[in-house]
Structures are given as C-alpha cells and as structure tokens.
Amino acid sequence: MTEKDPNLLLQHAPLLQQGMTTPQAMRDVLYALLPVTLAAVWFFGLGAILVLLASIAGAALTEWTFASQEKGGESLLDGTALLTGLLLGLTLPPGLPLWMAFLGGAVSIGLGKVIWGGLGHNLFNPALVGRAFLLATFPIAMTTWAPLTGADGFFTVQPSNLALPFMQSGTDAVTSATPLGLMKFEQQSTPLVNLIIGNTAGSLGETSGLLLIAGGIYLWMRRDLDWRIPVSILITVMIFSAILDMVDSTRFPDPLFSVFSGGMLLGSIYMATDPVTSPITPKGAWIFGVGVGLLVVLIRAFGGLPEGMMYSILLMNAATPLIDRYTQPRVFGRGKALT
C-alpha cells in the first residue's frame, strides 16, 4: 500500500487496445514479400538485387530528405518508404537501368507521398505512381524484358542495368517477351505451370504466382489485408475472362492464364489492398475490387497495352473518395431502422 498518492495520469478510456500497430502491419507486408523477392533474385540473378536496392534507395533517400526532417527523422522508421521502394522495385523489369529505378523510387515517395503530407494522406498508391511515371517517361526501357538467367547465371548483371545516369542503355540487350505480350501480340499462350512457378519473363516480382499467393495468405491470417479486394478482383477477372474466352479463345486467354499472368496477383494482393488508397468501407472494397477487375480486363483485352493492372488500380484509387462517400454504412437506427 502506497500511502503517497501516485501522480495519476488522466489518459482517456479506452485503455485497452488490440495488439496490432501500423508499423507492425507494414513489416508484415515486408515479410510476406520476402519469398517473392528471393524468387526474383533466383530467376533474374544479381541484377535483380541491384534494381531493388536502387529503387529502395531512391524511396528511402527521398523520404529522409523531405519527410523525415520535419518529423524528427522518424517517418523513415515506420518502414513505409522501404515497403514502397520494394513494391516499386518488384514491378520493374530486370534489365532496367539502375538510375531509372532510383528515379522511380524518388518519384514514388516525392509525388506519391511527400507532397500529400506523408503516410496516410496520399490518395494514390505511391509505388504505382512511381511506376506509372517510369512507364510514361521511359516506355522502351520499361517494356524491355531481360530473359531469365537460370540457375548457373546467378551472377549475371544485365549490361543495361549499368547505363549511366540520364543516358540510354545503349547496347541492344537480349530480350524476351512476357506471357501477356506473347498473348496479346502473337496469340501465344504460356503453360500455366510456368506462370505458377514463375520461370517466365516479366517484372521482378510478378512472375511467381505461388509465392505471391502464399504471402497473401500470410497477410490474411495476420489480418493485415482486406481479403475482399483481392477476392473481388480475381473473381471479376475470372468471370470476364471466361466470357471473352468463350467468345474468341484465340484472342482472349482463359481465366486462369489471366489470373496468373502479369501483375495481376502482385497488384491485387499487395497494391490494390494498400489501405490508404482503397475504400475504407466493406461495401466500398467490393466495388473497388470489381472496378479494378473490370478495368484490367478491358485494358488487357481491348486496350493498346498488354498489361493494365497498374492503371486499373490507379484509376480506382482516383475513384476511392467517391466510393467511400457513397458506401457509408447506414448508421445504426437511421434509414430503414423502423421495422
């Protein structure tokens, strides 16, 4: 018994809290992406590490320069800049010049986050802002896909990786086509097994369907992920691909191909679910997912580009404030309450 009164705090209730914190959730996403990252290095060699590091460096440096100084250097510690850099890196082609990856990371954080006021305030997914910027800025470099290096080529670094800043990659690299590119421009399908394992050409982190799904399940189990978004995206894509495939199976791929090819899984599990830029209401999450699914099929099937995941998510990001506004749940006891 203390006779002396403790100096009582007056912190408001509730004093209890559930365990999860925001930085922890961000770390979970990093853990979930770890296998995918390792797979990227396995498939594309050392160059993959360089590209990922460059984009992370660009993101972290920008965060440190602009955001951290005002807020006491702490915002770098919440891990979001690291996550943005990694996510961007995973969407880049293996042979991308490192300076472009760095620039992309900087734009992701600069245009995608800092100017909005930092974490939680941005309305577009920062990694995708960075990627959209890169794709619009360097369309050729961003659609030049270095081939798989294979097991014995671990130490390969694409010559194009090492282009001097602001300079073209110069030498004509060996390139290969992504499964989606093959489908769209040459009506060639890729075996589903390869898509699931990931030994196809493509962006660093998008090839291995299996690992992407595994990471998604981990996040779902940790309750870090709004499962409605990936589920609604994938179901929508499957349904519409199936319909198109029935109409003309030479031009339009089958549903499973659609789901496992390109950035579909990476985008729907790790990017569309970015809580900051997706609707907050459960109903909104469904609408968002269906919207992304419809747009991606529209762009892939009828657009000029083989892949549309990034644009679909960005477009639905733009619609998110509207979705949120019109899917506010009915407040308890209001509306049709009197039954």
Binding site: L123, A132, G304, T320, R325
Partner: protein
C-alpha cells in the same frame, strides 16, 4: 458505327478533354472543389457541348461554306446566344432544373472546351451524328474527370498537404497523376 463508337471512347477516355487536352481547367481550378458542384457543372457542360455540336454543324453546313473566315466569331456569338436562349427557356419551364444547372450556363459558354469542340469538329469534318457523339463523349469525359478530381480534392482537404503546395499546385499535381492513370486507356478499341 465503329467509327462513332471510337469517337465516343476517344473523347471520353483516351483524349479526355480535361486530362489530355487541358480544356476546361479554369472551372476545375477556379470553381470550388465541391463534388456536388463539379457534378452539376459537368452535366451543364455536357448539355452545352451538345448544343455546340448542333450549332457548329448548322453553321458549317449552311453559313461558313460561304464565309469560312467568320468561323471563330460566329461560333462564339451563336453558341453564346443559343445557350442564353435555352437558359431562359429552362428558367421559365423548370425552375428546379435551372437552380441545378442554370447558374453554370453563362459560365460555361466562354469555356475553352466549348470552342475547342466547335473548332475541332469543323477541322475533322464531322457530320451531325459524329459531332453529337463527339460532344457526348467529351461531355461525359469532362464530367468524369471533374467528379474524380473534385472527390480527390475534397479528400486532400483532410490531408496534411504541406502549406507550400496547397492550392493550385496541388490540384495540378492531382490532375497530373490522374492524367497519368488515364494513359492506360491509350489504344483502347483501336485494335479491334
């Protein structure tokens, strides 16, 4: 038919008036960023664009073949007076509609989107149907862009946007990112 469809899609998404041609930015930047206002402004603009397409077709077919040099002036005068006239009609017959849309009408007649529509419909040699579809696509695209931008702006109001960038700079950058997202529509339906 295909052609009409493509004209529509092109004006709606690929070459969106606001996001690809920078038309009608003044209302976007100047008029309040409120969603409701943006939507009604969009509807009113669509309406005026349709009237413009009609006027432009009429002028091109019956008047300007004799005096092509008067195109600019005649577009301005005819469109402005037609809209004025319709505004009066609306005011008289549907005060509700007038309250909802009417107040925007005088604002829109001097909008560059209107003039652009008339001029490019002329330059591209559009007929009546093509012109109307063009106007409809452009109008809906304009509304779409305005509504998306207004929603984003309202949301950005709640953000910690740094003081240096708040205001027009921020709005332009939002528009820039949206414009980047709309690049995904490039080539839509052109390969079919």
């Amino acid at each position: 038919m295909d052609n009409l469809f493509w004209i529509f899609i092109s004006a709606l998404l690929i070459n969106n008036f606001v996001l690809a041609y920078f038309l009608g930015l003044c209302p976007f930047l100047g008029v309040s960023g409120k969603l409701d206002t943006a939507f009604r402004l969009g509807l009113a603009t669509t309406f005026v664009l349709l009237i413009t397409a009609l006027c432009a077709w009429f002028l091109n077919t019956y008047v300007l073949i004799y005096a092509p040099y008067l195109d600019l002036i005649s577009f301005i005068v005819v469109i402005a007076s037609t809209v004025q006239f319709i505004e009066m009609l609306i005011k008289k017959f549907s005060p509700t509609l007038f309250r909802a849309l009417g107040i925007f009408l005088p604002l829109i007649t001097t909008n560059c989107a209107i003039l652009f529509l008339a001029i490019s419909a002329t330059n591209r040699g559009y007929g009546l149907a093509e012109g109307l579809v063009f106007a409809l696509g452009a109008g809906i695209g304009f509304t779409l862009a305005m509504v998306l931008l207004a929603g984003l702006r309202e949301e950005a109001e709640l953000s910690d946007v740094p003081a240096l960038i708040k205001g027009t700079a921020m709005n332009l950058i939002i528009a820039g990112i949206l414009s980047m997202a709309f690049m995904g529509f490039a080539g839509l339906f052109s390969s079919t």
